[in-house]
Symmetry: C2
Subunit: 188 residues, 2 copies
């Protein structure tokens, strides 16, 4: 399905216009499929992981975080950027423990998606995390200010249905976890 | 839930570092909740709309499109940017017709979400479109090269489950449309 060449643009030149600490911006000079020239603006970011940690009482452990880009404080599943040498499942366990203090013993990989395919290189992989152990090892990045939020899974699903949860990773992870659990999911 | 002030950053200065045709990049100087100073890199993009158009035979009308940011050709629901003066439902109908030739007579609004809350201002609103009329009025932007793709809704759902669909809007719109239809949804 994704292997067709028709309609593909040819990249003639890549130019960095900004190199930041979180993201880079590139301008591409391209040749369109009809031969004309064009430009694309591409944001280069690291890939990410996110985990919905759910305990044996079906409570979920989330974080409340201010997001300056949209000027809102969101309730979200724990998430973070993938370090280059790190295995994706290890990053998921690490981010979950660092942000919530809960370390998942079992991870179910749910999906990988491009979060802004129109202009960004970034992919994010979502996991359901179970067999939680509370370690309390919360380690936030120097500029992260998170508050823990605990609620039942059903309450989280209600918030998604009411569109009070507004970030794609938390919405998708909740919907996919619910499908997974409703299929007679057992812990292992 | 989103109204708390704890943990909010104060923006001291906004500086545009790039103004493009598709996106702008801003650097924010901020005061962190603990009083220290920091920086944030913010991508400013227009908000967007996307529609899953489904006909009376339960076929869906999609587009195949090359995405330079991730260097892949994706099968996606029709989508586009919101013009400033346009009503969001009008934009959804317009984009659907311009990209697929099918004009939805009825729209069901499913959800609005931030696609990259960590660094982008962009929100996208998803619709299910029914009562399709084929007008054939396909009008693509000068640099858009799309191919129509038609399949059954069930086939689309299978591709989502197999993670062969990788953009957040198509994944989410498929899952939410399925939930909506399974609840005894009738056409109007």
């Amino acid at each position: 399905m994704n292997g067709k060449n028709k309609g593909i643009e040819q990249i003639l030149k890549r130019q960095f216009v900004f190199r930041g600490s979180y993201l880079h911006l590139q301008k591409l000079k391209i040749k369109l499929p009809d031969g004309r020239r064009g430009e694309r603006e591409i944001v280069r970011v690291k890939d990410a992981v996110a985990v919905l940690p759910i305990d044996d009482q079906k409570n979920v452990h989330l974080v409340r975080q201010y997001r300056p880009a949209i000027n809102r404080t969101l309730v979200e599943i724990p998430a973070g950027l993938l370090d280059r040498e790190e295995k994706i499942a290890d990053a998921a366990v690490r981010e979950c423990e660092e942000e919530t203090g809960y370390r998942p013993g079992v991870l179910k990989e749910l999906i990988t998606y491009a979060h802004a395919e129109g202009y960004s290189t970034g992919f994010i992989t979502l996991f359901l995390g179970t067999d939680l152990e509370y370690t309390g090892n919360i380690h936030l990045d120097a500029t992260e200010f998170l508050e823990p939020v605990c609620m039942s899974f059903d309450e989280l699903h209600r918030l998604v249905e009411k569109n009070e949860i507004v970030d794609s990773k938390t919405i998708l992870c909740t919907l996919l976890s619910r499908e997974w659990m409703s299929r007679g999911w057992t812990k292992r």
